[in-house]
């Protein structure tokens, strides 16, 4: 068995391969569904209905997709430069912490000033968190997979400490939760009375800006070059270390925005269950999008749909909603396989 390089995939293939991966995922998931005693077709229909079958479902899916777009972008940017940021979860929580530190009345400013200030500080917070692992990688060759992954636990425990201590809401009846953000810091709802908020618009804007940076800018070129071949990039005079630092700053900042948008747009305060693994799911989102920032939007909505739909399906059929987790994890594996197949042809000889 040998691998042969293929021509770069065209647009049709860029859609075909993720579609194939998703199809394979459904096939694998249907085995589990059958084992759980339900009909795969019923289950998938109910998932689809739960994700997109009504206005409520669609709004819920887009709301759930919002943090996934941010973490997906964070991962896509980092992975493009082969900086393996597994720590979007931690950066997300840092974004949440910064939001409640500044947004719960500490700063009394009009919304038009307060929001940009908070967003800037959130970006900075997430960026600084990833700077540490990036520095250790560049200076001492410490594997960033390990450092960023472990930082997730450290930061979560740190947030837990804050919520039991200085950030604890005195009016919170003893629950480990922060005070609520003031009205000036809140992201407005897009539709009155519905959960979808302005964070979704920010996510779309972030996706477009990230796409522009990756595709058109000098920095994006440098990041791609470093990601493909750091040796050759260095030979050509590309400052590899600086590029990695810039990548880390961008990636960490994007992930932190997920925390900001969840706190300021949806939850209103910081709790320990702010993220049910949005940071990790961002990896699947990015891979499914083949690291394309615009594709991240589509894949985030898709993944969010699976989660939202699975909840609805589970209530109707009794098949555990964990099937969503299995599907998302399987999708990562099938997608990685599909990406390889899009670049190489297998010759069985």
């Amino acid at each position: 068995m040998r691998l042969e390089a293929k021509k770069a995939p065209g647009l049709a293939q860029a859609i075909l391969y993720p579609a194939g991966a998703i199809f394979a995922t459904l096939v694998i998931a249907s085995v589990l569904v059958t084992l759980a005693g339900a009909s795969p077709f019923d289950v998938f229909y109910l998932v689809l209905k739960g994700a997109a079958g009504s206005q409520f479902a669609i709004i819920e899916t887009l709301t759930r997709a919002t943090p996934l777009i941010f973490t997906g972008l964070a991962v896509a940017v980092a992975f493009r430069a082969k900086l393996w940021n597994i720590g979007a979860e931690a950066q997300l929580y840092v974004g949440g912490v910064v939001t409640v530190v500044l947004g719960t009345g500490t700063l009394q400013l009009p919304a038009a000033i307060l929001m940009p200030v908070i967003i800037a500080c959130v970006l900075l917070g997430g960026a600084l968190l990833l700077l540490g692992p990036a520095f250790l990688k560049i200076r001492f060759g410490v594997d960033e997979v390990v450092t960023t992954l472990l930082l997730n636990f450290i930061v979560l425990l740190f947030v837990s400490m804050l919520l039991e201590g200085v950030l604890k809401d005195p009016m919170g009846l003893g629950w480990p939760q922060s005070k609520r953000v003031i009205a000036e810091a809140q992201l407005p709802r897009l539709i009155t009375g519905k959960r979808l908020h302005f964070g979704f618009v920010l996510a779309l804007a972030a996706a477009f800006i990230t796409w522009f940076i990756m595709k058109k800018s000098v920095l994006g070129y440098e990041m791609r070059a470093v990601g493909h071949n750091p040796e050759a990039a260095g030979f050509a005079g590309i400052p590899v270390r600086k590029v990695l630092i810039k990548t880390a700053l961008l990636s960490g900042g994007l992930a932190a925005l997920a925390g900001y948008s969840e706190v300021a747009g949806l939850k209103g305060n910081l709790t320990l269950d702010l993220s049910p693994g949005f940071g990790y799911t961002g990896i699947v989102v990015a891979m499914l999008a083949m690291l394309n920032p615009l594709g991240v939007v589509a894949s985030a909505i898709f993944i969010a749909g699976i989660f939202v739909g699975a909840d609805a399906m589970s209530r109707a059929t009794g098949v555990p909603s964990y099937i969503a987790q299995v599907m998302v994890a399987t999708a990562l594996l099938t997608m990685v396989t599909a990406i390889m197949l899009s670049r190489y042809r297998i010759r069985w000889r």
């Binding site: 000098v218 920095l219 050759a232 990039a233 260095g234 590309i238």
Partner: protein, 517 residues
């Protein structure tokens, strides 16, 4: 039909009608030959002629589209390397396959016995190796670590490894590429002894004089086809060269340069020793405008380090660089580019090009941030594309479009792109490290022509090559590198091949021994 080999004995190996294609490339096209007992057959051909592919088929690493391999009268199952080994076929690869941190003995028996062999077996193995090395003149200390051995000794270990497995057919892939002339002679003596004992040998090379010296019969491969089979006794270099290249070779016309002032200067450079790379010891070198300085030497004697320093990828621990008489402080690839140094790196795939990026992205890589290709942090892909098209046109690069990934280009076309990128803006200093390795003859003479053109418009060129013929053909001045030291420069034609060979082997250095401390 070409004359068959004289011996009437049954062939030990027979390849029949081997054809294999990779995509559009026909790597081997209907190749048939056989090998007799006690015969040395040379497989001669340019890089890319299909020699290595053919051997990979023989070995079961690749499966041919059509054709069969027979050893000792039995057909080998395709795609089964174990069967080839079982049949007594052994190979010494161009790049050795030895574990550096194990001893010679351990390397030789590796894979032939269980990990928990009792001492008794070890003793038997040691005895067998001792006998083999005595029989064939392959002296080597069985208890030495591989990392302590010279290249020539490592090759002996590889040959012993094959003999230890009782091979009857030995294949050597470019065995002399890493050897000095005297080591080559020792190898040839060993090979003669091996065939006297009844082994058969396939000797792969692209060096004409070598195949004439060692083989009984020569198979010439060209573009994947068997261009001819000749008895070594009845042929000569000219005939072989013509067969190998096909159409008439356009020898690069050499005219002497007219050297100007020194523009680039390495002063007493010393580097630290690192595994696999000898340290440079007090290396000084001047490059003059309008002159090609050739650096000859056996692979792995410090060329890589020297090249990395000039490319800007490394900063020497001691000594300095002077450009146009000014001492250089900050040194990096970008600084080197800023000083107008055109660089053709040794390894096209590893550092010369980014294989997975397209041609446009690759040709702008050394100047992407300049106003020519970027404004306000945004790339001007139109300008990049125009530049790529210019190189493709001027350097005759064969590619369907500038949007394809560099990986899909042939070695020669990739090298032309690198050449176009390096020579853009008429650099005053040019480093060409192995600029023609792996290229076909047409591309080689093209590269040579471009280098001479660059010299004639006043560039100072350092040509690093392991091919002594190339260095001699192109250089106004030759310097030899051995174990990290440079010889005194000699003028064109001043030293014979023999004398250069002595220098390459490390003899005759003025400062021999004085830097040992």
């Amino acid at each position: 039909m070409e004359p068959r080999h004289s011996a009437g004995a049954e062939p030990v190996l027979r390849l029949d009608g081997i054809t294999i294609t990779f995509g559009d490339l026909v790597a081997n096209d209907d190749i048939s030959f056989d090998l007799s007992k006690g015969e040395i057959v040379a497989l001669l051909g340019e890089n890319g002629a299909g020699k290595t592919t053919l051997m990979n088929i023989l070995f079961g690493h690749y499966v041919a589209d059509t054709g069969t391999v027979e050893a000792f009268g039995t057909r080998l199952p395709p795609g089964d390397p174990a069967a080839a080994l079982q049949a007594g076929i052994g190979m010494v690869h161009q790049h050795f396959t030895l574990a550096d941190q194990l001893t010679v003995l351990e390397n030789i028996i590796l894979g032939t016995e269980s990990l928990f062999a009792p001492g008794q077996q070890r003793r038997a193995a040691r005895e067998k190796i001792r006998r083999l090395s005595a029989d064939f003149g392959l002296e080597v200390d069985t208890d030495a670590l591989i990392s302590d051995l010279s290249v020539g000794e490592r090759q002996r270990v590889e040959i012993l490894k094959a003999l230890y497995r009782d091979v009857r057919i030995l294949i050597l892939d470019e065995p002399t590429a890493v050897l000095t002339p005297s080591e080559t002679e020792a190898l040839f003596r060993t090979l003669k002894k091996l065939v006297e004992k009844g082994l058969s040998i396939i000797f792969i090379s692209h060096k004409l004089y070598e195949v004439l010296a060692i083989s009984d019969r020569i198979l010439v491969l060209r573009g994947g086809r068997l261009a001819g089979t000749l008895q070594s006794a009845g042929t000569n270099r000219a005939e072989l060269a013509a067969l190998m290249v096909g159409d008439k070779v356009e020898e690069t016309e050499f005219t002497s340069g007219s050297p100007g002032g020194t523009v680039f200067c390495l002063k007493n450079i010393t580097t630290l020793h690192r595994p696999g790379r000898p340290a440079l010891q007090d290396v000084s070198l001047d490059l003059r405008a309008g002159e090609i300085t050739g650096l000859a030497g056996v692979s792995g004697n410090g060329q890589a380090t020297l090249s990395a320093i000039i490319e800007g990828r490394e900063t020497p621990q001691q000594g300095g660089i002077e450009i146009e008489g000014m001492s250089v402080r900050q040194w990096s690839p970008r600084a080197a580019l800023g000083r107008n140094i055109g660089r053709i790196p040794e390894d096209r795939h590893a550092i010369g090009m980014i294989d997975d990026m397209n041609i446009v992205e690759n040709v702008i890589s050394e100047a992407y941030a300049s106003p020519r290709f970027a404004r306000y942090g945004i790339l001007d892909m139109k300008a990049g594309r125009a530049f790529a098209e210019e190189i493709i046109r001027d350097y005759d690069v064969k590619c369907p479009s500038p949007d394809i990934r560099a990986r899909l280009l042939s070695g020669g076309n990739m090298q032309k792109l690198i050449l176009g990128r390096a020579l853009d803006g008429d650099p005053g200093i040019i480093l060409a490290n192995q600029p023609t390795r792996g290229l076909d003859i047409g591309a080689v003479s093209y590269v040579h022509k471009r280098l001479i053109e660059a010299r004639d418009r006043g560039a100072a060129i350092l040509l690093i090559s392991e091919d002594l013929d190339e260095v001699r053909a192109l250089s106004d001045r030759i310097v030899v590198i051995s174990k990290g030291r440079l010889s005194e420069p000699s003028g064109r034609g001043e030293l014979s091949v023999r004398e250069l060979g002595e220098l390459m082997a490390g003899h005759g250095f003025a400062d021999e021994g004085s830097h040992a401390a």
